[in-house]
Amino acid sequence: MSLEQFKNRNVGTQNYKKLDLEHSPTCGWCQFKQVVSRTFKPELFVGLWVTLREMGNALFRGKMHTTQYPFEKLPISPRYRAIHDMLRLLESGHYRCIGCGLCEKICISNCISMDTRYDENQRKEVSEYTINFGRCIFCGYCAEVCPELAIVHGPRYETASEQRASFSLFEDMLTPIDKLNLQQEYDGFGAISSNADENIKKTPLAY
């Protein structure tokens, strides 16, 4: 369907499909006929069949919709911005953060605070790094600005905890060294989800 057809606002010339509605009956006999025809239409049984079919689909064809949430989780888009992760270098296992301070600088809610010093090899090392999650608005600027892809947004959206400090220290966000092989690389901003192809649908206008 081309764009011109959507721009045509002239009602009279368009191909509208009229609903096939009958007029409501006026005489008593017409009302009676309507009652009889509605009584013997199998529409009620169509409804019964639909629910039974869906039950069969759910039970035997694996079309059950329920996700048993605390035990199962739906896959989450790589663009999702939840609690931050601090990634490590895959070869050495050292954290990627070079202490440049760009994330602290760009943070619009001033929730990142970091402190750095020179180690014995005159390399920057992060001595302190916290994110105040009471203030963080999860805008994603820190991850966007990071030149080393060191700070990224992770998929941990369950942020209820007894203390905010449970998320906010550098060590807590850093990939555990023994789980380095499970570390997910960040696809970057604008990345599409892995199942994006399945989610593509026609826009309603095209129907």
């Binding site: 009584t39 409804g47 019964l48 639909v50 629910t51 039970l59 059950m64 329920t66 048993q68």
Partner: protein, 336 residues
């Protein structure tokens, strides 16, 4: 048909039977709530209760604990005696109705040699008694709604009055035609009538459909669940009830569903006769289970009606049909 000599029915046997009915039907009614939640969930492609026990089976126990330990609230301005008695009426009439209905096959307890009959009391006006008891059950919701000093309760009890009273007419008239054919009011005679011939539903399809429709109204099930439809009247007659008093309404409703299932099975669907290779006890259980399932199925599929539509359906469609059916049955019986 040769008459088999049955052992004498003793008082002990009847008491055992009564306790058995009470225990088993209460358990089934409780289990029915679980089945209902599961079936409705499956029809909506959900899983239903899953967490308590394997596939949520122990949800019943959790519900029971909750109902029994919940605070029993009686509202300040309620008529306290009537408010307290009303749930007992619903539950009691539902179980009294089951006294005259054949529920399980008869058996003899070994060693003590007590014969337990299949009907607690095989009275010769069985159908009248059961229908009367189910009709008397309307006092439960009626008094409950009027006693609780709550607007929604009043609306609920008003709806009880119109719905149960109107559909009592349909139930009676629809079952009148089979009664004319059998010439008896005893459930056993109904069963025996269908032993050799076809099921009653073949001779009386209209009466069967009318009876099922009226049964939905009598048991307050979904196309006609006006008494406690929560989108309109909070919970209708049960608005102010909590804990086990509310639970008794629930048990009464489910026991009534089973009673309707039994009547439909015995009067219209061949009763507990053997069918092909299946023994009678299995057939009656299958029939009752199907009508129970059908009630849940309908609840998942159909929307419910407005009170005025309910009345319209009752008095302008179903009652004329029932009367015509009775007349035609009478004419055919006279000619044949």
């Amino acid at each position: 048909m040769e008459a088999t000599i049955l052992p004498e029915v003793t008082a002990a046997g009847v008491i055992i039977k009564a306790v058995l009915i009470l225990a088993v039907i209460s358990a089934i009614a409780g289990f029915g709530t679980f089945i209902e939640r599961k079936i409705l969930a499956f029809m909506q492609r959900r899983l239903g209760p899953m967490h308590v026990g394997p596939h949520g089976l122990l949800q019943l126990a959790a519900d029971g604990i909750k109902l029994f330990t919940k605070e029993d609230i009686i509202p300040q301005h309620a008529n306290k005696v009537v408010f307290a008695v009303a749930p007992a009426i619903t539950a009691a009439t539902a179980f009294i109705a089951l006294a005259a209905v054949p529920v399980f096959p008869d058996f003899t307890i070994p060693f003590v040699d007590i014969y337990v009959p299949s009907i607690a009391s095989d009275i010769n006006v069985g159908i009248l008694f059961v229908l009367g008891m189910m009709a008397a059950g309307l006092y439960g919701p009626l008094l409950a709604g009027m006693a609780q000093a709550n607007k929604w309760g009043i609306i609920g009890s008003a709806r009880t009055a119109i719905q149960f009273l109107s559909y009592e007419v349909i139930t009676g008239l629809s079952i009148l035609a089979p009664i004319m054919m059998v010439g008896s009011l005893s459930f056993v005679d109904f069963n025996n009538y269908q032993t050799d011939g076809l099921w009653m539903v073949v001779y009386q399809p209209v009466a069967f459909v009318l009876f099922i429709i009226a049964g939905f109204a009598e048991t307050n099930r979904t196309p006609f669940d006006l008494l406690e439809h929560e989108a309109e009247v909070i919970s209708g007659y049960a608005t102010e009830y909590s804990g086990m008093r509310w639970g008794m309404f629930f048990i009464g409703e489910y026991a009534n569903m089973i009673t309707i299932g039994v009547i439909a099975a015995v009067v219209f669907l061949g009763g507990y006769n053997d069918f092909w290779i299946f023994p009678g006890w299995l057939m009656i259980i299958a029939k009752i289970a199907f009508s129970f399932f059908f009630m849940l199925w309908v609840r998942a599929a159909w929307p419910h009606v407005r009170p005025d539509q309910l009345m319209w359906l009752c008095w302008k469609v179903l009652m004329p049909l029932a009367v015509i059916n009775v007349i035609i049955t009478g004419i055919v019986m006279m000619l044949v």
